[in-house]
């Protein structure tokens, strides 16, 4: 199984997720751009379905994603426009939050710019998903709670600290 996803905070406006997949890049790209495939995995925590997944993957093409709780039927989503399409290496879109009927603390104004970069080596594809928010405040609102100034806290680094401490 591939190594677990890494989350870093490369600047005060960004969050970056890195993950490897044991599959060719084209396939990973397809899984991010073909709605019938996206609906199979981009589901978040258990208990959510993705009944709406419309994607017009080309520059200036629109997309709309909506999730529905299996428990109470409440919905929320994201929508936006593809800004850069250069498959299977690169994809970027802006992302607006649609609070639906769950609300939540995510900002609905300025979009988040999401870029996806895929590199393949020896049959393993490395995915880097970078989310750049309009401001530190919107990132903080989106990702949950407040943080400050530019930093690069690899969660792994903290983890190493604990390992060192436990040893």
């Amino acid at each position: 199984m591939p190594a677990p996803a890494q989350v870093t905070l490369p600047s005060d406006r960004e969050v970056r997720v890195t993950r490897q997949f044991n599959a060719p890049r084209q396939l990973v790209y397809d899984a991010h751009t073909k709605p019938e495939l996206v609906q199979k995995w981009m589901l978040g925590p258990a208990g959510w379905d993705m009944p709406v997944c419309e994607m017009d993957v080309r520059p200036d093409g629109k997309y709309r994603w909506q999730w529905k709780s299996q428990q109470d039927g409440k919905q929320f989503g994201f929508f936006g426009t593809f800004t850069e399409v250069d498959g299977p290496a690169h994809l970027a879109h802006d992302e607006y939050y649609d609070p639906g009927d769950i609300g939540g603390s995510m900002p609905t104004g300025d979009p988040c710019v999401v870029s996806l970069d895929l590199k393949e080596q020896n049959g393993v594809t490395t995915l880097v998903c970078n989310m750049r928010f309009a401001s530190k405040e919107t990132r903080d609102g989106a990702v949950a709670t407040g943080m400050t100034d530019g930093m690069e806290i690899g969660y792994a680094r903290l983890d190493d600290m604990f390992k060192a401490k436990a040893a």
Partner: protein
Amino acid sequence: MTLDATFSALADPTRRAILARLADGEASVMELAAPFAMSQPAISKHLRVLENAGLITKGRDGQRRPCRIEAEPLEAANEWLERYREFWEQNYQRLDNLLETLLEEQKPKTKRKKK
């Protein structure tokens, strides 16, 4: 102690290095200052930020006031990133399975063995 204060304190590489050193065991201000090209007052300033964020405490040992790391706020910060990471990891494990299925489907159907 808020995550804000924790992340703010962790935003500086010197302070992270100090914490990494303290993860190996307690140390005096002088011992902590040694590896850095920094004056003791500059190190003390960093230590104050870490102390205010609850990431370290200063003990009493005669004249020495050794600093020691406090795990709790670090664990909270780690937990926060971990929750976010888990959210993605859940998605990506499903994607792993999907990719595996797609790869299987892609294989040329020449595996049918002749009898």
